[in-house]
């Protein structure tokens, strides 16, 4: 054990002993592994994020008194949910029965009548110029802020307001807060994005770790041979080489932890698919963090030992056992086929609901498809360059070099190709989801109608709501629609709507209507439910406020002749089936009126019309809920998607940069290793320009091939993933163009950065061998 440690320590000493080159190598390895570690730490934080969220949600659940008589003070609560420009705002109106009433989580005390406590996000929205229109809905005096305990996420728009008008309904009385935690599941699209993202990000990092073992390979070979010469055995040399890798891995761990901790500070600013997390929640689970801390160095050491398996370090130098064999295709197609079969088999599996059984298959499929790129590329590059002939001397030099050895170049561009393919797939999934949001309103809305539902629609409340709406400048017309039950037998109820002709015309698009008319709406495409068959004219019924246990019977009525009409197809005309009755048809009967919705006609050209209508009924707070069938303001969600796409693009470009760093290191390494032949070429009259162009071709040819493979596999992956989540197939061509252009730029930049090294190598000193 002591010898092991001493060998590893010697490896560490050798890794940092080579001056600037060693430090640059260590920095590159640290950066590459660091990005991987940061991704792993983020992924290992997900369980903590979900459980912390679930615990807070559970703590926010009020335990209701129900039918029991509470022994101490209680909190009467009414929940209200409202929208503001596509954002959901929710909160409770509360009234304490006494000083010992439970305090809502996150609040320091129960707000009194006319007081309110707000979440930081809601407070800042109200204080911002954008929130001006919203202020009308929250006229209360602010007396505090809801802390993390009362919120699920930092961006939650929540409030707790004191209101003396909250009913003393014992069934709604909260005796305490807290309950069992319920696990929160992720949106399937989000899960898919995370899966592809993690895989696409980790792959180039793994490639980079692999490449880092080849960094300064000549120098490493030389020093390992020197160690063999002075008596280090083959096993010891492997251990020493592993020690060198270990330092890179440990540096990577430190860099990764630093990156994670830095990025973590900004986590509250990120909102992904409506989900955001608190800094405190972004904490890696301890067992997973320990696993990462142990596995990463072990992996680096094992990778290094495996890489040396085919290498024999002898005192006179290093030989490699690999024979120059022609690559075969058949087994290289296995991953792509396995991935395709796995993903095709899951078509539609994540179409709406989460399907846990599908997740491993989908992840496996993605992994397999992305793995196929580095597996296929060496074959593609070998075959493609093998066919290339002729051309200018620079082209010939590059192609001959690639024909001699294209494996390393193919492995490096494999990392680039995986990022590109992952990026293309991700961007396409997002582009498709965004299209769905942007397209939906145009196809399914009527921007001139809003429906206001009343929780407890007494005639007075309805009249008050109608009055408030009529006084709003944004409203054209207001039509109250009453719903009544027609009881025709012991357990035989039929649904009916009572409204004036204008209301019914707006609701179901009647051809003609006079007061006293009755209509029967039915769905021509589906037969009625058993027991809900058409109610025939002449049937005697009892007008009822509700049904079964809730029924409150009113007067008797005989169904008159009616006009049958088909249920309208427009989804916003959400007329239920059943009778549509105008007031005249009920003569002077005292009809029970407690369940009402108010149909509001608005001028859609009025800016923020839905917000003005919400403000109009805001004095009724929890007693109303508003459905807007017009064009919902999707700009927020589109902006969200845009920011995710931009973030992903930035991430892809960053990872591309990392892959570029590998390419650069490899190119510099090649110039260094081939210093003498390059110097000889220059000395014998080959212009430096030709040598520079040869370097450019040497980088560009494999990358171009990688680009073709990446676009093919990335697009294929995108199509299969979109089928899995049942989204329309939309390929993100502009995104592909940006990534391809970035890759092309990368080649030019790498070549440009190699030029100073080439200049040095081809100078007079390049001919010196020692």
């Amino acid at each position: 054990m002591k010898r092991w440690l001493s060998d590893l320590a010697l490896g560490v000493r050798l890794a940092i002993g080579g001056g600037r080159t060693s430090w640059v190598r260590l920095a590159l390895t640290g950066a590459g592994i660091g990005v991987g570690v940061a991704v792993l730490l983020t992924a290992s934080s997900v369980p903590t994020m979900l459980s912390a969220r679930a615990e807070r949600t559970a703590a926010q659940n009020g335990v209701l008194a129900g039918d029991t008589t509470p022994s101490s003070d209680v909190l009467y609560v009414e929940r209200w949910v409202t929208d503001f420009r596509g954002q959901v705002i929710s909160g409770d109106y509360v009234r304490a029965s006494g000083p010992e009433a439970p305090v809502p989580p996150g609040a320091s005390r129960v707000p009194g009548d006319g007081e309110i406590v707000l979440s930081p996000a809601l407070a800042s929205l109200l204080d911002s110029p954008q929130g001006e229109l919203l202020r009308e809905r929250f006229p209360q005096q602010r007396v505090g802020v809801i802390t993390q305990q009362g919120l699920n996420a930092p961006h939650d728009l929540r409030f707790v307001a004191g209101d003396a008008s909250v009913d003393e309904d014992a069934k709604q009385a909260v005796v305490s807060y807290g309950g069992a935690a319920k696990e929160r599941t992720l949106d399937p699209v989000l899960s898919l994005l995370i899966m592809v993202g993690v895989v696409a990000l980790l792959f180039p990092v793994l490639v980079f770790v692999g490449i880092s073992t080849r960094l300064a390979a000549t120098e490493r070979d030389r020093r390992l041979a020197a160690l063999r010469l002075v008596g280090a055995g083959a096993q010891r040399v492997r251990r020493i080489a592993a020690g060198e890798s270990l330092l890179g891995a440990v540096t990577g761990l430190v860099v990764g932890a630093a990156l994670f901790l830095t990025a973590r500070q900004f986590v509250e600013r990120i909102k992904l698919m409506g989900i955001s997390v608190f800094v405190g929640d972004a904490t890696p689970s301890l067992p997973l963090a320990v696993l990462i801390a142990v596995l990463v160095p072990v992996m680096a050491v094992v990778t290094s030992i495996i890489a040396m398996r085919r290498t024999v370090v002898e005192p006179l130098g290093v030989v490699r056992r690999s024979k120059p064999v022609r690559r075969v295709l058949w087994w290289r197609t296995v991953p792509v086929l396995v991935g395709a079969v796995a993903l095709v088999s899951q078509s539609g599996a994540l179409g709406g609901t989460r399907n846990d059984a599908s997740v491993p298959i989908v992840v496996g499929g993605i992994l397999s498809a992305l793995l196929s790129i580095p597996v296929l590329l060496p074959w593609v590059v070998e075959r493609a360059v093998g066919r290339l002939r002729g051309g200018a001397p620079s082209w010939q030099l590059a192609i001959r070099r690639l024909q001699l050895e294209s494996g390393t170049a193919a492995r490096v561009v494999g990392g680039v190709a995986v990022v590109l393919a992952g990026g293309i797939a991700l961007q396409s999934v997002l582009a498709s989801a965004e299209t769905r949001i942007v397209d939906r309103p145009a196809a399914q809305t009527d921007p001139s109608r809003i429906m206001v539902s009343l929780n407890d629609a007494t005639s007075e409340a309805t009249e008050q709501a109608v009055g408030l709406l009529e006084r709003s400048g944004a409203v054209d017309r207001v039509h109250p629609l009453w719903s009544v039950q027609l009881k025709s037998g012991e357990d035989d109820y039929h649904y009916a709507t009572l409204a004036d002709c204008d209301g019914l015309k707006t609701q179901v698009g009647l051809p003609a209507c006079r007061d006293g008319d009755v209509f029967y709406v039915h769905d021509p495409n589906s037969p009625p439910e058993p027991g809900q068959e058409d109610i025939r004219p002449g049937t005697e019924v009892i007008l009822s406020e509700g049904y079964r246990e809730q029924e409150r019977l009113g007067p008797r009525w005989t169904v008159p002749d009616y006009t049958e009409i088909a249920r309208p197809r427009n989804p916003w005309q959400f007329a239920s089936e059943g009778l549509m009755i105008t007031p005249g048809a009920l003569a002077n009967l005292d009809v029970p009126r407690r369940n009402a919705t108010i149909l509001v006609q608005v001028d859609p050209s009025h800016p923020d019309v839905a917000e003005h209508v919400r403000n109009a009924v805001a004095p009724l707070t929890w007693r109303t809920y508003l459905y807007y069938y017009g064009e919902t303001d999707v700009s927020e969600r589109i902006a969200q998607f845009e920011s995710i796409r931009q973030g992903l693009l930035a991430g892809s470009l960053l990872t591309l940069l990392l892959a570029g760093a590998s390419l650069l290191v490899l190119a510099l390494e090649q110039v260094r290793e081939r210093r003498r032949p390059l110097a000889v070429l220059a000395a014998s009259g080959v212009p430096r320009g030709a040598l520079s162009r040869s370097l450019l071709w040497q980088n560009a040819v494999p990358l171009l091939l990688a680009l073709v493979v990446a676009i093919a596999i990335g697009s294929g992956l995108a199509v299969l993933l979109l089928r899995i989540i049942a989204q329309p197939i939309v390929l993100d061509w502009p995104g592909m163009a940006v990534l391809s252009a970035a890759a092309a730029l990368l080649v030019v930049a790498v070549t440009a950065l190699t030029l100073p090294s080439l200049r040095r190598a081809t100078g007079a000193l390049g001919l010196r061998s020692e």
Partner: protein
Amino acid sequence: MSALLEATDLRKSFGPTPALDGAGLSVRAGEVVAVMGPSGSGKSTLLHCMAGILTPDSGVVRYRDVELSSLADGERSELRRTDFGFVFQFGQLVPELSCLENVALPLRLGGTKRREAEARAKDWLDRLEVSDVADKRPGETSGGQGQRVAVARALVTGPRVVFADEPTGALDSLNGERVMQLLTTAARETNAAVVLVTHEARVAAYSDREVVVRDGRSREVEPVR
């Protein structure tokens, strides 16, 4: 006196090219033997086979009556660490370590504690007149200094045989002379044998006897003094 190291009828080919074709050499304790010959004659291959670095296709190398080919890789590594020392034309120093660490390296690989290994290494750097480069890396020293550091490293473990392959090949004549003086003097002081591969007569002049290798075969010659 019986031979300390003896090679008999060695044959070694690299692919279709024969490097050794029945060469042999016998070395006694404390003597300096020069192996001479033109480029490509097989003299370096003979040295590598005798040091256990290369395994001959046929023939026998015996060190203290033990056949080297019968030893496992680990045993041969140990032999190189304890009984053999090496000085090559270049490339034998670890560029990442300082000169002092390079000299101490064989001792440390053998388990000697760092402080003690470095103290002994310092002594040898003093003897070879390069203590001023102790903290420098090999790349920061001149060719002559680097070779003297290599000699110090070859001798620090007290080897019985030092293998020197063109040790002055990359040095000017003045530096070459100095390195040879120091190497042979130190070897004689410690009773170490030296197998010296060279194609230069003035380097061979430091030896007790000379062997010429030509076309893979060896022949002993009387030195011309």
